[in-house]
Amino acid sequence: MITPASRFKKKLPVPYTDSLPDEIKGNVGKWKDRKFHDHGIIEHISESGEHVFSVKVGATPNVRFSTDTLRKFSGIADQYGIHALRFTRSGNVELLANSLENSLKIKQAVEDLGYFVGGVGNTLWSIGSCTAYLTCTTAVVDSPSLTKVLYDNFKSYFTGEDPLPAKLRINVGGCPTSCGGLVADIVLIGHYGDAPSYDPEKIKMCLPAKADSLDKAVPELVMVCPVNAIKAYKKEDNSVGIDIIREKCIGCGRCKDVCDHITFDPHKAGLSILVGGKTSNTGFGPALARVLVPWIPVRTPEYREAVAVVSKLIDIWKSNGKPGERMSDYVHRIGLSELQKMLDIPVTRWNKPTSPPSGFGVRQFLTE
């Protein structure tokens, strides 16, 4: 029987050591070197003399798998691997093996399933995508389908057929919330491209009933706006009205997050493209990506505009980046304005370069 007592007792995931395959258990913390094979296989070399191989498999957009496919991966891991696999932080699947020979067999088997092995070294490691139209309520643009199109176009950067100067990470977010964050080399974000509107009657559901209360507290709808673009005022009948000041609004959607009766014109939605983000402390160090292109149209099915911009960015980086230089570091080196000049993109207040956010991460400590 389900009792409060039994239910309140939560269950934590098993201690990580319990989930490791035996081949790894004894080697935790003992890895002394590694080799990369074939742009998709990492050989981990332990002090103990043991070797473990991980074969990195690219995932579907939004990392959505049927149990059927996962069972097949599992089968491959049983047949050629060490009966184990892991899901990486960036959404790939790593099948674990004990020899290069077996790793190559895994690679073959995975490819036979229609999946690709890659994402190691100077490649496209992954294109992160949030869930968007699949389950999310606030999505403006559908990131999984956009991600699919990008992957279709840039697959050879993942597999390493087409070499890159360094690691590349792309992230796609369906709305300005950007669940994937702003720390990727290229970030594409769906947004409204416009200020919100509302039905003056319906909006009352999101506001206090009587205007008297305005003296005591700021309505949540007003408070969430980060730029104070929403003003509440007292109407003649003592109800509450609002004004949304278009000139101030940044189109962030925070008002819509707290009130379903805030609406945006779907025809004005677009994608912004940001560059120069990363979280690793290499090179210029961790930084937030900054807006390069504030808006391009969203045109399904091909999302050609997005593909074109990303293609061009990669091409510029390939021909001008130094060997080993992340795209983000390249952008920092030449400066965002320079890149904008190369793209001949109009600069408005929405993509005017400001001081680059830098000096983050561990370098903020600098102990002796």
Partner: protein, 413 residues
Amino acid sequence: MKISEGEFKERENDDVLSKGLELLEYYEKGPWPSHVTEIRKTKYPIEVYASGLGKGESQWYGGSAKIRYVYVGFISRRSKDGKQTELHFRVFHPSGQFYTTEALGKLLDFADKYGLGLIETTGQTGGMIISMDADLADEAVDVLRSIGTDIGDTGDTFRDFASCVGPALCEYAMYDSLAARDYYLAYPPIYENLSNQQFPFKVKLKFSACPMDCARAAHRADFAFIGMWDGAPDVDQDLLRKKEEEGELKIHHLVEECPSGAITWDEERKKIEISAGKCQKSMNCIRRAFPAIKPGKDRKVALLAGGNIKGRFGPKMAKPVAILDDYRQAGDFIMKIIEIWEEKSPHKERIGDMLFKEGFGKVIDGVKDTLPTNLQGIPVGQTRIINSAVLNDAERRMYSEWARRITDEYGGD
């Protein structure tokens, strides 16, 4: 012929749907494995996705579901046309996200029996998302617990914590990021709040075992733990020269690429020198020349706070709190910051917003007694430089003697 408004809506919806279904087909083509193809193999209501694509707008509204005595960890949706619902569990992975095929098998069985056969194996936060059969959800919770994990990771409370693969596979790991995640999930004040407490908003911890920050902690966590070391990297000069001779690397590249200009080449003695004071722990020389260059031996954990993506004031990078000797040293600090946050912040304000609003240095300084006193680096607020001293007699004698020695050396007394 006049059609009713209802009928009109219906037809319009049909148009949208058929456009959406066409789009689905499009997204099943192309070389890259398709999410649509995967989803088609499951019981997920794919028409809602199709309508969304057709309309260019998500077709989901927030829904509601009830699981007895469980308050977070699942998300319910209803489609805008009211015809479909969707429910998914956010499920904790074991740290490092390793699965033996046996353990994975149990989860897959679970997803088939209680769910729709569809899994997002790594969400952006690092968890797993399993699409559920709403009717079986209540029962499913206990079954999930019986196979060694649980739901969580929603609501205004602690979310799932993420760690990099760390020492389980990575040669750079400077502390055990996986054990650290396990430790903090089980840390009593956190464990207690995992699914109850109503904080102003969500709280995330992330653990990267080295400055490469594979767990993306520096921006995507309220509390970030990043492995680092004290001093200069360790150099095996012979091995380094050997690597250069064998064409594996060029030493002058290491010198040029070091972002802080910490590396110099001593032409005379044919070795590199790394300045401890300058090195910014970028890992650059290390990843290029490993194991000829390794992190220094005195390992530390950098604790940063206040990163997040949206919040009230927009995207933020985490800021430095302290350098810890051990990842376990931050428990009190975290809970104290949360206490202040509960007091100061309205709904939807992340910890980083609060720190920004109240002044990072001021808040951190005010709680510094929650941190060990022998901290090596407290970069918060200002660096305290005390140019005076209160000595006891023994100390005074000690420094007098030292002064006498150095005075003797320089001309005698």
